[in-house]
């Protein structure tokens, strides 16, 4: 609750700060605001509250998810470096939009009423459409924004239709009301209810880029400025999964037999589509887009199984995935900028390709280490956080007895190793013309923090589990 209020106010303040001549105050101010929101978030720790006539709720789970999105945004904003390279950029607006979008994300995490879910999704999505197209003079960025908007509008329509049908069947927008209607599943429920549930699910699955609703993802992630790709692939995904988890766990456990199998099939398709397609990519950024689809698949395992372990599995996985992804995109931004200055070519295809990383680790050991740690974590190699994330996910599937899904997931993780290790091989075993890259202190802190968090959680996963 507190973060929503604080972030809304801060975002407005940021817009006014944009009138100042100096841009340099914006980045520290935004970071400060995020830290304030993070602290305020934990004020209600160990208490459960309902706000605004049971529209929103805060409990420990929602606070942990909120903390993850705030931490991710903090890291992303820290890596943005005030957009000092880009004269045409408008950092005040960007930061304000990020803060506004966080409000939407937190509403998606803590909603108790489908209306709040819809409002949250829209706040977040509209903000994302703008950020995707923020590189106004770049055709790719424009194209991506338009695509995202069209597809997103389509998905929103379906989702809203689903909510309407659910209301029609159960007579309620609240999760508790829908749950009490669904609890009579034995006596038979109206067909409209099931149709509504499916359409709502499709809408949300689109937002987390699960296959076969994932087609927008590679184009949008590839076209958006890298910093916003990092934001989208972490914050939006975490918020989307928190929303799905809350929805399914609070309202639809009674009809698990209806949607469980659908989610399991969607999970399998997502895993295969994401991992297999990533193999053929030559652009690192595009590979990361497919990788984010595949991780949506791993996260879906926990939803498709929906067992007692699912909550902590999804929390742990989102955190591990967010940290690794942000640090990978951070390194990519540095490498791309360096290549752009070196070769004076703005051809993004060569600057963002795997070849751009050749020999990186020799001249830039920190960047090499940060990237290698992220890749190992994303691939799920032991002693990184990603390993335990996958482990918890897989154990939820075992608990539910979905062995076939587990087999698919394990095989696809093996495929994943192929493309994640391509970067490591390029950095450590190939020769390239990379020169030492100047790293600003903020960047250095973020990367070091990401390495420590990833390995720390990999060595002692219990640290986080003890939290809630």
């Amino acid at each position: 609750m507190f973060p929503i209020v604080l972030l809304s106010v801060f975002a407005v303040v940021l817009l006014f700060l944009g009138f100042l001549k100096s841009r340099s105050v914006l980045l520290p101010a935004t970071l400060l605001f995020l830290v304030a929101a993070l602290v305020a978030n934990f004020l209600d720790w160990n208490k459960t509250y309902l706000y605004f006539n049971s529209m929103l709720r805060t409990d420990n789970l929602s606070m942990v998810f909120t903390a993850i999105v705030l931490l991710s945004s903090f890291l992303v904003v820290a890596l943005s470096g005030s957009f000092e390279d880009d004269e045409a950029a408008q950092p005040a607006e960007y930061y304000a939009i990020i803060l506004f979008s966080l409000v939407g994300a937190i509403m998606m995490i803590g909603y108790e009423n489908l209306v709040m879910l819809f409002v949250g999704v829209e706040i977040l999505s509209v903000a994302m459409y703008i950020l995707t197209g923020s590189d106004k003079r770049n055709l790719r960025s424009n194209e991506a924004a338009l695509k995202y908007f069209l597809m997103g509008a389509f998905a929103t329509g379906i989702m809203l239709f689903g909510m309407a049908l659910l209301y029609g069947a159960s007579g309620s927008f609240t999760l508790a009301g829908i749950a009490s209607y669904a609890s009579h599943a034995q006596q038979g429920l109206s067909l409209i209810f099931y149709v509504g549930l499916l359409m709502l699910l499709v809408g949300l699955l689109f937002k987390v880029s699960a296959a076969p609703f994932h087609f927008w993802t590679p184009d949008v992630y590839d076209g958006a400025p890298t910093i916003f790709t990092a934001y989208m692939s972490t914050v939006v995904k975490t918020a989307g999964f928190a929303a799905l988890l809350h929805l399914l766990a609070a309202s639809f456990t009674y009809v698990y037999s209806f949607w469980g199998i659908i989610l399991a099939v969607v999970t399998a398709i997502t895993l295969i589509a994401g991992n297999v397609t990533a193999v053929y990519q030559n652009s690192f950024k595009r590979m990361m887009a497919y990788s984010s689809i595949s991780h949506a698949g791993y996260l879906l395992i926990g939803l498709a199984a929906l067992s007692a372990q699912s909550r902590q599995a999804i929390v742990f996985y989102s955190l591990a995935y967010s940290i690794a992804t942000i640090s990978a995109f951070g390194v990519l931004m540095l490498v791309t900028r360096q290549r752009g200055m070196q070769t004076l070519s703005s051809n993004p295809l060569s600057n963002e390709s795997f070849d751009a990383f050749n020999g990186l680790a020799k001249q830039n050991p920190l960047l090499g280490l940060a990237m290698a740690t992220s890749m190992l974590s994303l691939a799920g190699i032991p002693l990184t956080a990603g390993f335990w994330g996958k482990f918890y996910m897989f154990s939820t599937a075992v608990e539910r007895g979905q062995i076939w899904l587990l087999v698919v997931a394990v095989l696809m993780s093996a495929v994943g190793i192929y493309y994640y290790f391509r970067v490591i091989i390029a950095m450590y075993f190939r020769d390239g013309a990379t020169e030492p890259i100047r790293i600003s202190p903020v960047f250095r802190y973020v990367l070091v923090a990401a390495i420590i968090l990833t390995i720390g959680l990999g060595v002692a996963p219990g640290l986080l589990q003890g939290l809630f």
Binding site: K147, L198, V202, P212, F215, W216, T277, A460, G462, G466
Partner: protein, 636 residues
């Protein structure tokens, strides 16, 4: 201060030392390196002493939880330390002897170009050893167990420009790995049986099991396989003599005083399980006596000053296990402590000799060193006296206590034990006489260079000599301090098998006779050595000299290394070659085939990503239709 913080500091300080010296290798000034490393361990020692002082006399174990570490299903493994009588004793030995050896290393190693690296590794070793000893469950012990193995590997091969040293390091690593597999399987069996790895819970559950339970027997044997590797018992002992390739302080710290006794610590820690499985104890006893005699007999004819000490270590470890096999856990621990004192002393003394002799280790080229190295000579003599089991020094009391318990258990084992003790006395005095008495047999240049070692090296020698001399007072015969102190540790064992812990049935007169016999045998061996090497001035023959058949066999260490090479290493290697030539074709074909398949499907799937929104929307609608069809029209 909080006990939790104190306990965490004990291993963290050496780790900090490792980080400073390791990260700052080549940057930290050489003068500071030794000081930082030694102070880190000394500080840990002082904390341990304060914990020891404040520990209630008959208190139960104090568990210090640090954080939840791994939770998987029903299995919870916290990261916690256990402070009780046993861990406190081991902590005192590890940090105390460790501090002395760190101090000694400053004098011994400071000329070496890798001095910083060396001290960093020593600190890291202490860190892992402390984890091993302090951990409150088998998993933390295992981490420490693997960690000390790693450090041992790094330090044996410390001078890594020498190929044979690297081979020795690798041999130690591989042999330990065989033992570790047993240990690991033991832990898995424990998890499977008890559902926990916490000592307190495991032993509490175990006390309700019947004597001779098969699962417990399996666990005990598997754990002992681990102990065989780490504590160099037959058949996994051959790595320890080779491990002498490492710098001498390493031999003293890791391969004599601390790491190799980890196996004994583990068995004593798990004493409830072993008491429940008498058959396992029988196995331990047989292996122990074979090890003790075999190693002692090899020691008789070795000519490398460190090799003699290495075989003596193997043999003494055998004695410790022998004591454990007679459920004389206290006696075993007592010998661990006294052995840590006198064996560290002997190794450090040997290091001082090697230092003075410009890296010469062959005792045939020494002799008469007592005039040039008076401090080393006196302390070495005290160590020899102690290890030989002659009164009144430490070794006499601990070895006698073991032998007295073994006598109660089995007369045959006792007789063999006394024989081994005689052998020990003989080869140790042979070493002493050949090194320090008679005429100098080295080159003139070496003779010119002879000198006593600096104070950083002699002070540890003197302290250890005092400890070796009076260490026996810890547990005087007839209910000493140590057996009283350790009593709470064996509460569980006493519960499951009261007979084994009943008051000794031997009368005092018998006990004195036993003492007299073993001391007498040792004394006889001393006289024999005196006659051979001082009166007759015999010097061992050179390597090429003709030897009689049995002598030849012993001189070549019973050809055990050659046997392993022929029976295990070569078959495995040829199997590897076979698999390689076959597997290269089959496995690579399979792997590449799968990779090709994935890549092809990737190329096809990629085409779906056409970039056209029309197609994307169409795919979405089609998917929704399919899902609806799946759910509403095709019922299953």
């Amino acid at each position: 201060m909080q006990i939790g913080l104190l306990c965490a500091l004990i291993p963290l300080l050496p780790l900090l030392g490792f980080v400073i010296n390791g990260v700052g290798f080549r940057r930290v000034p050489t003068g500071l390196v030794g000081g930082i490393a030694t102070l880190a361990v000394l500080a840990s020692f002082l904390i341990v002493v304060s914990l020891f002082m404040s520990f209630p006399a008959e208190g139960g174990p104090q568990i210090v939880p640090l954080f939840d570490w791994i939770s998987v299903g029903d299995l919870h493994i916290p990261f916690s330390f256990q402070i009780d009588q046993l861990s406190l004793l081991m902590l005192l030995v590890v940090t105390g002897v460790g501090t002395l050896i760190h101090l000694y290393s400053i004098g011994y190693m400071h000329h070496d170009e890798g001095f910083g690296k060396f001290m960093a590794f020593l600190n890291l070793f202490i860190f892992f050893m402390l984890l091993l000893v302090m951990g409150a469950n088998y998993v933390i012990m295992f981490i420490g167990w693997e960690g000390v193995g790693l450090c041992s590997y790094l330090l044996i091969g410390f001078w890594n420009k020498n190929v044979s040293y690297n081979n020795a390091a690798r041999k130690a690593f591989v042999m330990n790995r065989i033992g570790d597999l047993g240990f690991l399987l033991g832990i898995f069996t424990i998890i499977n049986t008890f559902g926990t790895v916490e000592y307190v819970d495991v032993f509490k559950q175990a006390t309700s099991l019947p004597m001779g339970d098969t699962t417990v027997l399996v666990i005990a044997l598997l754990l002992f396989v681990g102990a065989m590797g780490k504590s160099a018992q037959v058949p996994l002992y051959t790595w320890l003599p080779d491990a002498m390739a490492g710098p001498t302080p390493v031999s003293a710290l890791i391969h004599a005083a601390t790491m190799v006794t980890a196996g004994i610590y583990m068995v004593v820690r798990s004493n409830v399980l072993y008491t429940l499985a008498p058959q396992a104890l029988e196995v331990v006893g047989i292996i122990a006596i074979i090890t003790a005699l075999l190693a002692a007999s090899i020691g008789l004819l070795q000519n490398d000053i460190k090799k003699v000490l290495a075989y003596s270590t193997v043999s003494q470890l055998g004695y410790m296990f022998l004591g454990l096999s007679a459920t004389a856990y206290t006696a075993g621990m007592f010998h661990v402590i006294t052995h840590a004192f006198f064996k560290a002393l002997l190794f450090l003394g040997a290091g001082s000799v090697i230092h003075a002799m410009s890296n010469e280790q062959d005792i045939r080229k020494m002799g008469g060193l007592r005039k040039a190295l008076p401090v080393t000579f006196i302390t070495f003599a005290i160590g020899t006296w102690a290890i030989s089991g002659l009164p009144p020094f430490a070794g006499f009391f601990s070895k006698d206590e073991i032998l007295a318990h073994v006598f109660e258990h089995s007369k045959v084992l006792w007789a063999l034990g006394v024989l081994g003790s005689g052998l020990t006395s003989f080869y140790m005095f042979r070493l002493l006489f050949l090194t320090f008495f008679g005429e100098f047999r080295g080159t003139a240049e070496q003779k010119h260079h002879l000198h006593e070692s600096p104070a950083t090296m002699t002070i540890p020698l003197i302290i250890l000599a005092i400890l070796s001399a009076v260490g026996g007072a810890l547990n005087l015969p007839g209910g000493g301090w140590l057996s009283h102190f350790l009593e709470p540790i064996f509460e569980g064992s006493r519960q499951v098998n009261p007979e084994a812990f009943a008051e000794s049935t031997i009368e005092h007169s018998t006990e004195y006779v036993l003492m007299a016999v073993s001391a007498g045998v040792a004394l006889l061996a001393l006289i024999a050595a005196y006659v051979m090497y001082i009166s007759r001035k015999a010097v061992p023959a050179s390597d090429e000299a003709d030897r009689s058949m049995p002598e030849q066999v012993i001189y070549n260490k019973y050809y055990v290394d050659e046997l392993y090479e022929a029976a295990i290493v070569r078959p495995i290697r040829s199997m590897g070659d076979t698999f390689y030539s076959f597997g290269e074709f089959a496995v690579d074909g399979l792997v590449n085939g799968v990779a090709w398949l994935v890549k092809q499907s990737s190329a096809q799937l990629r085409r779906l990503q056409s970039g056209s929104i029309g197609f994307y929307v169409f795919a979405m609608v089609l998917s929704i239709v399919l899902i609806f069809a799946l759910r509403f029209f095709i019922r299953f």
